[in-house]
Amino acid sequence: MGRRDEESFAEFVATRGTALLRTATLLCGAKQDAEDLLQTALERAYRHWGRLDADADPEPYVRRILVNLVISRARRWKVLKEIHMSRLPERATGSPAHAVELRGALIDELRRLGPRQRAVLVLRYWEDLSEAETARILGCSVGTVKSQASRALAKLRERLDKHAAPLGS
């Protein structure tokens, strides 16, 4: 069984870097954060790159690192916010022109979801992974993926309805 080498890492990053960066952008919200996160995830994969099977696709492995990093970082930031902020931070108010765009509002609402629910939606509807694959990456059961996806979509629907009602009136 062959092992991966340096060249295969460069090749993998060149071919899959953009797709992974887009996933990272959706997972964490901001592009700058996404680049940093992706570099961290790729560095972690690079540490063990030589031990990866040459015949297997390394992308699920990198994607799993990425998701775990996002969840860990969100958890850490939540703790920091609880320590440093005596009151909730003010949320940006979207411009009317932006608010009427359903897609822009959807992305905003996606950012406001919890990291796990956001990861479920990104993996299911952006990466088009099956429920089983999503469960494998998140390290949970298929049932959990189903329930998280259902709750996340329900939240999006509810928030969009609230958001769109005043705009529609």
Partner: protein, 251 residues
């Protein structure tokens, strides 16, 4: 269009302009190298700190030991040999002088193993129980000398005396450190010896030099109240270096 389809379209729209920089792989490798260097530096620093602590702690304890009379002793600096190596003598066993011929060359590099064996007991001059005891720093000994036996401590004339002895082809050296409350001057350190003293100074302190019956020569001085030292040398060329050896004794 249902929500899932809208969500897909929104994600695609949101990430449409996002492309990975061409230098991403290089940036990842650079980050990995920085991490490796950081780990190595951390491990190296920790190892160096541990090694330094391992070496420094015994030296520190030897420098700031508290003797049994409760007197806290700290070796003072020496104007005669400012470049001496700051190494304590071996605990118990007198340090063998290396071949270097400069002040400070006679100190041991690190503490030797704790001495054991018959030399530890019943070795006092008056037949009393003798205990192993470290002396102050002996920063200079002439080359060619080796420790005869571990330093011994015994009670003598109302005080405690620690005696270390070295010998070799160039002669022999004996250093006695006397601790006692009844000591008032260097004359008290060699009571009973019939020789007439000549007076000089060791490290700026009045010292008495006398000839010994065994053809050796000795110098005695009070390092501080209650603590005196007697350095004796003889048997060869070592006798001429008596004062230099005495100047190198740190108490």
């Amino acid at each position: 269009m249902d929500l899932e389809s809208e969500l897909r379209a929104a994600m695609a729209e949101h990430t449409a302009g996002t492309t990975a920089p061409p230098s991403l792989a290089a940036a990842v490798r650079r980050r990995h190298r920085r991490r490796v260097v950081r780990i190595r530096v951390t491990v190296g620093t920790a190892a160096a700190a541990a090694a330094a602590a391992f070496v420094v702690t015994p030296a520190y304890h030897s420098m700031t030991r508290v003797d049994s009379a409760g007197v806290h002793t700290t070796p003072a600096g020496s104007p005669a040999s400012p470049d001496r190596s700051a190494s304590p003598p071996a605990p118990g066993l007198p340090a063998s002088p290396p071949s270097g011929d400069r002040p400070g060359a006679g100190s041991s590099k690190r503490p030797a193993a704790r001495p054991t064996g018959p030399a530890m007991k019943g070795d006092g001059p008056d037949g009393g129980p003798a205990r192993i005891r470290r002396v102050g720093w002996v920063t200079y000994l002439p080359p060619g000398l080796a420790a005869e036996q571990p330093c011994v401590e015994h009670d003598e004339r109302g005080g405690r005396t620690t005696t270390c002895r070295w010998s070799g082809p160039p002669g022999w050296v004996e250093i006695r450190v006397v601790r006692g409350t009844g000591l008032s001057g260097p004359e008290d350190l060699y009571r009973g010896d019939p020789a007439v003293p000549q007076y000089t100074s060791v490290r700026g302190v009045r010292a008495a030099v006398t000839d010994r019956p065994d053809s050796g020569r000795q110098v005695a001085w009070m390092a501080r109240p209650g603590v005196g030292a007697v350095v004796a040398a003889g048997g060869g060329s070592v006798r001429d270096q008596l004062m230099r050896i005495a100047e190198g004794v740190r108490l």
